[in-house]
Point group: C2
Chain length 666, copies 2
């Protein structure tokens, strides 16, 4: 669709005060990644079979799967070519946008996501050297997935019911699904595609349960693809999103696998049934932790898509004159619209920066673990839990805010905003449910509050708990640093409140877990506050540091975004600041003014900022957000693809309508 660029967008781009490419390179984690991304884009854009003529939203559930699986195997081949046969594409998980073109191909998710991203990497991480030598073959026939949750068991994984019972007479494990609630349910690619899987099951040896372990099980014949005897497998049906992935269910009827199919790097079952314990019982949680960390960066990318669509549309869309004698104004000129959109741009940068910071922390902690030092793991776990929870929740809310900011047109699938929302909101639940995760972090906070309350030594990063107890309040400052201090005071205040409630419940004779449950609303509040203080502090510090390394004109803009984020949340949380810091009413009014000033300062760069995300039209897949801003032309063109517009008169007319409307005229 060639054609001139919308005039308003041309004007907006002229206003931009910074070098867009400079920012793009930062977002991509370096110019070399920008170059690599564009190479991959160009390569894949030329493969015609990957690009649909009819948008997938018109297809039936079954057609959608078949279309996706066709493309998935083309992509698999391409990725293998690009990696010259290395089937463990580990750099897939580093926080760059190098492979973002896949978002455009699948409009949602690659049905082989788990096969590519988790199946092989779990084998590499948890299988023994011999197992790896056997399984990690470039010409493997396995299409795998990772099978953990059950119909009746999600976040509380200890509740999993599937059993793997060792039979020493045959040297086999018997995989079994004891009841309906134990059916595996949800794994991506399991329904129709995978022929093998890693199964999480309770290990039983001689009547003793040794807890959860991972087993490799073939489930379909490699040659015919028919389910093996004792395997009941199928697809679970349509979902809010992820409909290009055949999420599946799986039941075992005393299905036997060789003993050597248990993943045995850290733990072993010997031929005689001897169980050899792992050195450290947290080693198995590594891949879940990594997923939570990489999720933060992925959410940054989803936010950048939503922001690009909503900002460009708001520059093109005109509605209501602001002054009555003027033409209708760009809706981007409405301050209420800026209030909805600029926080989304800023938040995308927050999650990019914090995601990278967490990625680096994870790398450091993993290196330590390999040297036998587990000391930093609890902190990383606590950070990952609350940051995963809050970033997924915030990102979902912001994507939806962008969608609503596009009015009715944002409700159309052709805007791509509903799909981005469906994709983003799934992250609130998967890989650790929101509230469950916040309560995990709360345990960590309460631990340190107890130390503080008992005047015991605290690590440096919780020194502010002691300040709070000693009422060492600094005078409020209406500055980024002041807001960060204020957010820490909120963490201390909310942790104290939750802790006091907990203690009170205990004094009233409740057992600990019951007392904990009764305080859980306050405990999650404390965790949320902790995540917010981390997001603010890391983003601000990293931005200040980055600003010294970039051009002056870009530094100004980056600091505006960081300040906007802090001001926005200070205003959102003004009630907590009033409760736990020394902020005054006048301070809040001043923050409100400064916030509105920042909106005005960012306004001229709004389009430049989303252009810098550099998301190509084929990835954005949005009638509202394309680079050229030809919104209405694209909307009409998309509508023309509707199969309901193929026939001038739909056959329903003759079957159902005419007999009613013309009954007296026949």
């Amino acid at each position: 669709m060639g054609g001139r660029v919308n005039e308003d967008l041309i004007k907006e781009r002229r206003k931009c005060t910074f070098d867009i490419k400079e920012l793009t390179h930062i977002i991509d984690c370096g110019e070399e990644n920008t170059i690599k991304r564009k190479q991959i884009d160009n390569y894949i854009l030329n493969i015609k079979e990957l690009w649909d003529d009819v948008p997938e939203e018109y297809l039936s559930h079954k057609e959608r799967y078949e279309n996706a699986i066709k493309k998935a195997f083309i992509v698999l081949k391409v990725l293998r070519q690009l990696h010259t046969g290395n089937i463990q594409i580990t750099d897939h998980r580093t926080p760059t946008n190098v492979y973002s073109i896949q978002d455009g191909i699948f409009r949602n998710v690659n049905p082989l996501l788990i096969h590519i991203g988790l199946f092989w990497s779990t084998i590499a991480a948890q299988a023994s050297t011999e197992q790896q030598a056997e399984w990690l073959q470039p010409d493997s026939s396995m299409i795998g997935t990772y099978v953990q949750t059950e119909l009746g068991h999600g976040s509380f994984i200890r509740g999993i019911e599937t059993t793997a019972t060792y039979d020493s007479t045959t040297d086999e494990f018997i995989l079994h699904t004891p009841r309906l609630s134990a059916y595996k349910w949800w794994p991506g690619g399991l329904g129709n595609t995978a022929n093998a899987c890693l199964v999480m099951a309770q290990l039983y040896i001689n009547g003793t349960c040794h807890g959860l372990h991972i087993f490799l099980a073939q489930i379909r014949d490699f040659d015919t693809h028919k389910p093996l005897p004792g395997i009941k497998v199928g697809e679970i049906g349509p979902k809010m999103g992820f409909n290009t992935a055949d999420n599946g269910f799986l039941g075992f009827d005393n299905h036997r696998i060789p003993r050597t199919n248990m993943l045995m790097k850290n733990v072993q079952v010997l031929r005689d049934g001897t169980y050899v314990k792992p050195k450290h019982d947290k080693l198995t949680y590594g891949s879940m932790l990594l997923t939570r960390v990489t999720l933060i960066s992925d959410l940054a990318y989803q936010l950048s898509k939503a922001a690009t669509i909503a900002v460009r549309y708001s520059a093109v869309r005109r509605q209501s004159p602001i002054k009555s004698n003027e033409p209708e104004r760009q809706i981007l000129d409405f301050v209420s619209q800026q209030h909805k959109l600029f926080i989304t741009i800023a938040s995308s940068h927050v999650y990019r920066v914090v995601g990278l910071w967490m990625w680096n922390s994870h790398k450091r902690v993993t290196a330590d673990i390999h040297e036998g030092n587990m000391g930093q793991l609890p902190e990383l776990h606590a950070l990952a839990c609350c940051l995963k929870a809050i970033s997924s929740r915030d990102a979902s809310a912001l994507v939806e805010q962008c969608r609503l900011a596009c009015g009715g047109h944002g409700y159309m699938m052709a805007s791509n905003l509903p799909q981005i929302y469906a994709y983003t909101t799934a992250a609130v639940t998967y890989e650790g449910e929101y509230t469950v995760l916040l309560l995990q972090t709360a345990r960590y906070l309460v631990k340190f509050w107890r130390l503080a309350a008992e005047h015991k030594p605290l690590p440096q990063n919780f020194a502010y708990f002691e300040d709070y107890i000693k009422k060492n309040f600094e005078q409020w400052r209406n500055s980024p640093e002041g807001i960060i201090e204020g957010f820490k005071a909120i963490v201390a205040g909310k942790t104290k409140a939750a802790y006091d409630t907990l203690q009170c419940n205990l004094r009233n004779g409740r057992e600990f877990e019951e007392a904990w449950n009764m305080a859980s609303v306050q405990l999650t509040n404390a965790s949320e506050a902790y995540a917010r203080s981390l997001l603010c502090e890391v983003f601000w510090k990293e931005t200040v540091q980055l600003s010294t390394k970039v051009s002056k004109s870009l530094a100004i803009v980056l600091e505006q975004l960081a300040e906007l984020y802090l001001m926005y949340w200070a205003l959102e949380k003004h009630g907590d600041l009033l409760l736990y810091s020394t902020i005054s009413r006048n301070d809040i009014e001043a923050l409100q003014s400064r916030y509105e000033e920042l909106l005005a300062l960012i306004r001229p760069n709004a389009v430049g900022l989303v252009d810098a995300f550099d998301i190509r039209d084929e990835v954005l897949c949005s009638t509202l957000g394309a680079y050229d801003g030809r919104v209405y032309e694209r909307m009409m063109e998309e509508a023309s693809k509707s199969p309901l517009n193929e026939d001038v008169v739909n056959e329903s007319f003759h079957k159902y309508i005419r007999p009613v409307t013309m009954k007296n005229k026949l």
Copy 2:
């Protein structure tokens, strides 16, 4: 699907302390409506063609339309039978659930919704007596819709570009779409179904524009259903929800209609081109106002569906022992879960009560208007604007909260929660966009604040503006009445803040509308606070009044729900209460304790409360929410309907998978 009821649900039902039927009758607006509803349900449940074998989520976009239209014409026939030929089914709009079975038939929306609900009623309200005699025929061949918004024009309806130019030589209007952005876009049923429509267009006579008027235009041949010459009509493509309705686009190429096709009850164009003005220019906005009012009741119903699903599921679902030596607990026992769900139950009652209160106000004001008294219209308009905005926003957020409270399973379409969300969130935008409506109400608030600031007399319902200015603060009371006073103080405080900003902008030389725009974030905040204070006050007062008329055991429960709602929002808005009322930190802590007490008090009645909504399984359409609680059985049964489970091996295997996985084995 027969079968025993889940044990946990049986126990929950035994715990219920009030008479469920008594509450059901209140919710239905009287026992007679409950009876009528059940009669209609039973009648319609017996029509087999209305009930799908394959859930519609498996169908393609085109199949979905064809399936819906088949059912729509059966329903139309049934409704005509039930109303013995009266094609204006006006009682369709009264706030009862009598026709709720339709939600079950269409899973979403009847494609004839606009035909039934708006097309005929607009003719009845705005056409002249002669026109009505001609058009309102029981055997009319017209299938109509209401055509207002355009590709480029939504909430700002004055911007509409479609023209209707009077040609006195032929006594016709020429309907014309001058450019792409003027294409009509969105009307339900327009794409493939309607053969006639009411078109909103700018009336031109002899080169003078008289503004927007409504015209009846035939667009398709009644007999062949082919679009008439000069008509370009089609379907706009898939949306987030409402996919059973063929929303459409429409363009006119100098399409001629008789002069007598303009709706002429309040306004006329004579044969010679003389324009006869309406007596009152607000008469045309009546139907939009009524739609906003009835929407509030509809949102109450959507919330009751979401609450029913999430509460029943939470009673059945077990996860994590609270004490480590116990079995896994019902998730309804987790206080964090109660915090998510009970506010949804309470909010459904809020919107039911406030919807009814608005419905009665609307009736009163309409009666006044017919007697020539327009005095109450501005107030009703201001109330309807902010209540529509806030109730749709709150309801969407709460439906989503219920969905997320069901964990991963809430993400499945078979839970019906994604569809309820998609339906509910549409209401944030249609019939007046959220922010636009809040800014309408803000004008009303600012008007009264100006009077207060100038010490001019105020109407009784704004007397608290004067109290606020005079600093007549009552001492804070931690009671429902105290909270209501507190919320009024917030309205006053926020209106003052927005007004002061506005004045400051004006003093700095801004023109009024520019100054208004700069203050718009604060103005919408004031409007939101106003809506919240209305919701709290009306709900509390109506509940107290109702409590005197119902059994003691029910009165206790209703007052708990009302108190919960007030406490919840007082805690959510504690920052504003700290700024604008005399609440203290200790008061907030006491509110938090009382709120947690209320959760515990409501807990035993939770299932009884959602049972009282009395939504039958065929309407709820949810694997998670059915009356018998057989969640996992239903989920597996639904999955078995997936067309992807029909074949043991999907043909994609042979086409795409095998060539890759077996390439070295062939």
